[in-house]
Amino acid sequence: MNCKISCETWLVIFGTLLAILLRCCTSLHPYSGEATPPMYGDYEAQRHWMEVTTNLPTNQWYVNTSDNDLNYWGLDYPPMTAYHMYLCGRAANLINENFTKLHDSRGYESDTHKVFMRYTVLIGDVFLFIPAIILYYQTTVKIGKTQDNEIKKKKQKSSKTLNEIKPMNASLSIVLALLYPGIILIDHGHFQYNCISLAFAIFATTLRVYLSLGKVLFWGILRLMKIGTTVIVMFMIIWYPFTFDLDDFELVLLRQFPIARGVFEDKVANIWCALNVVFKFKTTLDNYQMMRICLFTTLSALFPSSVDLFLRPNLRKFVLSLINSSLAFFLFSFQVHEKTILLVAIPVLIISIEHAYRSSLNTQDGLAEYYRSLLATLLDIEYKKATQLDILKMTYQQVIKNSDALKTLIFHFAIPPTRYPDLYPLLISVYACVHFVGFFVYFNVKQLRIPQQFEDIKNVKVKSS
């Protein structure tokens, strides 16, 4: 029975098992805010949301009442998260009523509860994120193959000139993507449910890729309307319980865009935090002014890549613009959390496979091309280094927050000057920020420089004729 399974599949199987093992091992570590009353951390926030959603009627979830103190980890994510928390909360209730008892369960901590919470993340990860990644790569490999065949037919050359697609590359990329430490550390160490939302994002991208595979022509306005209606209908279904009362709706919106919390909280590797060294935004400008500046800079940073995507749509540009827009948001927007870098990292992971494939093609087209792809790969490696760095920073913060033992180990050798206790995190975040700005420029240039592909031009012609 084994002989039918190819070497590449085995690689994926081992990689997946190893990825799950690493996730399980990480989940043995302390979570954010373990045993630190009164506010605890993200872990308690999620538990509190389970408590709120299972005990209160839907229209009170986002409203400040005597039963729902919004100052204590009030729900500030969109409704889908709330529904998810409701499901988890019901499960928690089955296992132990004390997990989600209204008021009484605040700051509830126990070994069983930790195991339960960890498993809820693990289930989301194993059943959504991992399949999403595998599915995405399988689809792109399929596309690569069909494209390859077409090129072969057109060129009418012997198969010598073109490399065959190596499924091994795809398997390796799957494994690398699954072992990406950012997700593992934040979701299973720090405690959050990013894997679920990221899984949906990847599913969406896969679908987009898949549709283009079917060579669906652009149906112009009709198609736009279709997409538009889908989006609006989805929103309506999800937001339905909160739209009875206009005031409620406003409250819900306000909860999700908290301006009162300031432009940044911890040391984040974005522009504002880095510039804060020179110019104190937090003290000189009030939050509303700051918000306007953020809005303006983010939109202008988004502009080139979005306009380019709009005018010259193309599959590769789409993935690249995903990177660009998420990087723009990470660098310039208001109230950014470190974990937002995951939104950048996932498209980069996605593109890495295509990249390996392209560079193997380019080698055939002459030395100049080869050189260019080499340069690009080098920059890619550099990028990965930077993400690694950010992860290092995340772990570093984890360490600061959770484990006194490691902290003493680090500070045994390097004691920060007492006047600036935040010196090291700040240095790391400024360093990372400089890199991120570099990548932002790099990926933008890269997107703009992608030439219009033959097929796209053909499509345009079909439409205009």
Binding site: L17, I20, T26, A405, L409
Partner: protein, 515 residues
């Protein structure tokens, strides 16, 4: 390959630092404290903690050396009176010490691989099979112990046997014996092999056996062994009986807290069932205790239905069962693989019949067997069976709920890799619907472990039996595993007794050619 594998495995081990740890953690912390804060002549008398020093002197020296590093982390852990002290620094230090001393194990693996003939089997498969051994990870890095360094020394010794450097092999094995005396169970194999192929050279004629050369080599070997013993025991010369009484605590029970899957587990189960049936039919057995034999701590107990087993019986049984293998080894040719096979038989026999056997002792046959697994089909088959069952039988050691997925994934990853790589090595499947290399019955048995796991963790709770019969799943696990291990012992023993180096080799060559 060795380097990469070690690095990656060490990363996984590092992640396990905050995992659950057993009382062995406190045992070793206490030994650090004893060796660091007390003069040598009190090491084996100290009894403030219930976990007294019960390893041989060389291990005490090892702890003594470690304690100096420990002082850099947290001095408080080196106080004998700080019972159950486990600050974050202490945990970190102890875990790191295991990870770093595992480097000895890596050296052992390297030496063994270097001593074998060059092929991709030993360059890739063997290092991965040895270094990522999931039993060692479970026992050392979760449960907490220093088996890595011990097996490292054992592998170094084996590598010298493979190279034909017998004196060095004997030297390292004696060191190992002075680190931990459980390896005494392997000593018969060493003794017979060295006696036959180092001391007596050439064919077994009277002239050869009683000759000057034999006497010379024998005294050389003896002096190496004795001098190592002398060097380690010399500082404890004035209270050797006290040391020995600590090393061989026959006051402990026949079985460990969780029954190791051996003959006695089946014996105990038979006793329980017999008692149950007898008491149902109205027969009573006086005042004999009916207390559970699977309580938490190491304890004494008595059987209620079957006769009690004194330590002497287990010893006699072990020796009796080893004798045929010894005779066979004595008359076999000089190939080092024969010696390793005999070692596996010794390890398995002592595991099955020994007194107060710990579950982790199953690694004693599994690790030498992994070296053999890349050599012959039957060895590979036995390795697959024994490693899967043996590692599964370690599960009860890691009982906390949070480790459930970790232990399952460790076993799954290791076993899937073992089956996959060994199948590629010997691409002959007995039947298309079995696991590679295994017969249908063996396949069903291995897959049955999944059913046992399911029963233990889900069905037992759904039936609501966990309050009435809390030890039933443990009993089922050890009996089920015991059946598999006894089966492998019997078939491996038969294989070894029938083994004739030359014949099997050509046979397997023919089979390969047919493929």
């Amino acid at each position: 390959m060795i380097f990469t594998t070690t690095l990656l495995t060490s990363c996984v081990k590092l992640l396990l630092v905050p995992a659950y740890r057993s009382t062995d953690f406190e045992v070793h912390r206490n030994w650090l404290a004893i060796t660091h804060s007390l003069p040598i002549n009190k090491w084996y008398f100290e009894s403030t903690s219930q976990w007294t020093l019960d390893y041989p002197p060389l291990f005490a020296w090892f702890e003594y050396l470690l304690s100096f590093v420990a002082a850099l982390f947290d001095k408080k852990m080196l106080n004998v009176n700080h019972i159950n002290y486990s600050s974050d620094e202490t945990v970190l230090f102890q875990r790191l010490s295991v990870i770093f001393t595992d480097l000895v194990y890596t050296i052992g693996v390297y030496k063994c691989c270097a001593a074998l003939q060059k092929s991709w089997r030993k360059d890739v498969v063997l290092p991965i099979l040895l270094i990522t051994n999931c039993g060692l990870i479970m026992v050392d890095h979760i449960h907490f112990q220093y088996n890595g360094i011990m097996y490292g020394i054992l592998l170094i010794s084996i590598s010298y046997i493979l190279q034909g450097k017998h004196l060095k092999a004997a030297f390292w094995f004696t060191i190992l014996l002075n680190m931990k005396h459980i390896y005494l169970y392997l000593a018969p194999a060493y003794f017979i092999y060295l006696l036959r192929h180092y001391c007596i050279k050439g064919p077994l004629t009277f002239k050869n056996v009683v000759s000057r050369n034999t006497f010379k080599t024998f005294s050389l070997l003896g002096s190496v062994v004795i001098s190592v013993f002398l060097a380690t025991y010399l500082p404890f010369m004035d209270h050797i009986p006290q040391v020995l009484s600590r090393l061989f605590p026959f006051k402990r029970g026949l079985c460990h807290a969780y029954w190791a899957p051996n003959v006695w587990a089946i014996y105990n189960t038979a006793d329980k069932i017999g008692f149950f049936i007898a008491s149902r039919s109205g027969i009573h057995f006086g005042n004999k205790s009916t207390a559970s034999m699977t309580g938490g701590l190491v304890q004494e107990f008595s059987h209620s239905f079957l006769p009690n087993i004194p330590p002497m019986v287990t010893m006699l049984l072990t020796i009796l069962c080893m004798i045929p293998a010894m005779v066979k080894l004595f008359f076999l040719n000089k190939q080092a693989t024969n010696f390793i096979r005999c070692m596996v038989v010794c390890g398995l026999t002592s595991f099955l019949f020994g007194w107060h056997v710990h579950e982790k002792a199953i690694l004693m046959p599994i690790i030498p067997l992994s070296i053999l697994s890349i050599m012959e089909t039957t060895d590979a088959r036995m390795f697959l069976l024994l490693s899967t069952v043996g590692h599964y039988s370690l599960f009860p050691l890691l009982y906390p709920l949070s480790l459930l997925s970790v232990k399952v994934l460790l076993l799954l990853l290791y076993s899937v890799y073992a089956f996959h790589s060994l199948y590629k090595m010997y691409p002959l499947s007995i039947c298309s619907y079995t696991l590679p290399l295994l017969s249908p019955l063996e396949s069903i048995y291995v897959l049955g472990l999944g059913a046992i796991f399911l029963y233990e963790n889900v069905i037992h709770h759904l039936l609501g039996l966990h309050s009435q019969l809390p030890f039933l799943p443990l009993m089922i696990t050890s009996v089920y595993c015991a059946i598999g291990i006894i089966y492998s012992w019997v078939s491996y023993y038969i294989y070894f007794l029938k083994y004739n180096g030359v014949h099997v080799r050509t046979k397997s060559n023919k089979m390969n050619k047919v493929e």
